[in-house]
Amino acid sequence: MGEELVIAIYLLVLAAIAGYEVITKVPPILHTPLMSGTNAISGVVVIGALLVTLSNEPGLVQGLGFLAIILATINVVGGFLVTDRMLGMFKRREGDKR
């Protein structure tokens, strides 16, 4: 348990630093897509929801898993699609595709 916790904290700290580095370079013009994009990434929490929805668990636990999967899937699918839709509108010149 101790070792696992240490590794988990390692991951947390390193990912936060790496995230901080790449995100500070995103220009203000793209702050909305950055936010909705990272928001979509946070929908990956659906993995956690999958892993509690085991067939040998009581119905109540599975029911909560079911709800959690729906919420997280809306977050991840909706988030990525709406970000892509938004970015499709950013054009350098008039009439430019993309």
Binding site: M1, A8, L12, V13, A15, G19, V22, I23, T24, K25, V26, P27, P28, I29, L30, H31, T32, P33, L34, M35, G37, T38, N39, A40, I41, S42, G43, V44, V45, V46, I47, G48, L50, L51, V52, T53, P58, L60, V61, L64, G65, A68, I69, A72, I74, N75, V76, V77, G78, G79, F80, L81, V82, D84, M86, L87, M89, F90, R93, E94
Partner: protein
């Protein structure tokens, strides 16, 4: 079995790399779309590998839930208008937080119903994920309701609001620590219920103009809640992605707070904008009101124009007409640029998205720092639906509540055209001396109608 675990972990590493590279590509509008596709592939790989390799999943329930969620998410993403983007992001955010909270509850019940003991590590991680998830969920839903105007957008304030919120948060921390030793159902319930209440009572006192900060903060919380869920179920990709999202939200929060020259604490606790009556009814000073015809003349014979958009542009849905006006002026050989204040609108980058939707090329959009020195060389500034971000008091009047906030120096241009519904003060309730300058023309009315009128007048010249 061992090899399958290794496969899943290997795919998680690939997914984590794709997330970071994807965000890195958001560094430029030219590569941003490919970046978001990379991140989406990362998400798909991570979810897919879990789906196929984790044993013993209840596939019937899972596939049904995935199908329902995907359908709702996809329809939503395609139907929602761009003007509703802030509340959409807020709500999606809340869903992510809600999912983390539900995972915490499910895990708690699983251990308890199986009659297993809680070790301090799992009790603390369940409490953490549950608390942050519940706070993110309720806070985001309130933010959504305010932005969607299901609730009054003004701060809802009552006596001892900050104090009771503080006490509830402190109690949550104490109870959370207690969970390590007494993981009883009522302790766990309170650890989730108190932050849930604080999410409501804390966000109802936030006014519309402060929303960019709160949405950024909730975005960060959803990442933290996700990392919490990662600790609960010992899942590396949730921890990595959660930390990244948490950092992202925090950076945006900081940028937004800096753009208002206020601390995060001040934004969360001061209920800015609730005292409109006190400062709003300023002295009766003369303003110069113009007709669309007069304004069109000034614009048509200018050489350079800078447009300063604000939330009013989104409310009036005037972005397409504004873009048409800009194109029309350019056709006459006039230089047209757009100056975007970091906190214009209701979320970071809100105005950029609206103008992009209206086909305004992004190389005509300028940040505060890039464009502020150009105002003094500019013939006409069009202020449309913006107010506080061009209030010169922020620069010159130490008594103003806005003093110290970096503003767009619209008042330095040769003339200023303000499109405004009425003389009511802006969100902050602070009077704006810009409107009373001799060089300022006020064109009153709905922003969309005014812009359309300007377009018609210029066409007829």
């Amino acid at each position: 079995m061992i090899s399958e675990v290794i496969w899943v972990e290997a795919i998680y590493i690939v997914a984590a790399v794709l997330f970071l590279l994807g965000i890195k590509r958001l560094g430029s509008p030219a590569t941003a779309r490919s970046g978001i596709i990379m991140a989406a592939i990362g998400a798909l790989l991570a979810i897919g590998s879990t789906f196929f390799y984790a044993g013993n999943l209840n596939y019937v329930v899972i596939v049904l839930a995935l199908a329902i969620g995907s359908l709702i998410g996809a329809v939503w993403a395609y139907k929602v208008p761009m003007t509703a983007m802030p509340q959409t992001v807020a709500l999606f955010n809340g869903f992510g937080g809600g999912a983390s909270a539900l995972i915490a509850i499910a895990e708690y019940l699983r251990v308890r119903m199986a009659g297993l003991p809680f070790d301090p590590y799992s009790a603390l991680s369940i409490g953490f994920g549950g608390a942050v998830g519940a706070l993110t969920f309720s806070g985001s839903v309130i933010a959504f309701a305010k932005l969607q105007e299901l609730m009054d957008g003004r701060p809802a304030v009552y006596k001892y609001q900050n104090e009771t919120n503080m006490i509830m948060m402190a109690a949550t921390v104490i109870l959370w620590i207690a969970m390590a030793f007494y993981p009883s159902p009522w302790v766990f319930t309170l650890v989730m219920l108190l932050p849930f209440i604080v999410g409501v009572t804390g966000v109802i006192r936030i006014g519309g103009a402060d929303m960019p900060v709160v949405i950024s903060l909730l975005n960060s919380f959803s990442g933290v809640a996700m990392a919490g869920a990662g600790f609960i179920i010992h899942n590396s990709i949730l921890i990595v992605a959660g930390a990244t999202v948490g950092a992202s939200g925090l950076i945006l929060t900081e940028i937004m707070a800096r753009a208002m020259n206020r601390t995060l604490g001040n934004i969360l606790f001061s209920a800015f904008g609730s005292e409109v009556a006190a400062v709003g009814q300023a002295q009766e000073k003369a303003v110069r009101s113009v007709t669309p015809e007069e304004a069109a003349m000034v614009l048509a014979y200018a050489q350079s124009v800078i447009v300063v958009p604000g939330y009013g542009l989104a409310v009036a849905q005037a972005q397409h007409d504004l873009a048409e006006l800009g194109a029309l002026l350019e056709k006459r050989g006039i230089s047209v640029k757009y100056a975007i204040h970091p906190v214009a609108g209701r979320m970071p980058g809100h105005m950029n998205v609206l103008l992009a939707e209206a086909n305004v090329p992004y190389d005509k959009l300028y940040d505060l720092d890039e464009i502020n020195h150009e105002f003094e060389r500019t013939d006409v500034v069009i202020v449309i639906g913006a107010n506080d971000v061009v209030n010169p008091d922020a620069r010159t009047n130490p008594d103003s509540p806005l003093y110290g906030m970096p503003i767009l120096d619209a008042d330095k241009a040769k003339s200023v055209l303000v499109l405004k519904r009425s003389m009511n003060p802006g969100f902050s309730g602070v009077d704006n001396p810009l409107f009373y300058l001799e060089k300022t023309m006020m064109l009153f009315g709905d922003a969309k109608k005014s812009v359309v009128a300007l377009v018609n007048e210029i066409k007829n010249l």
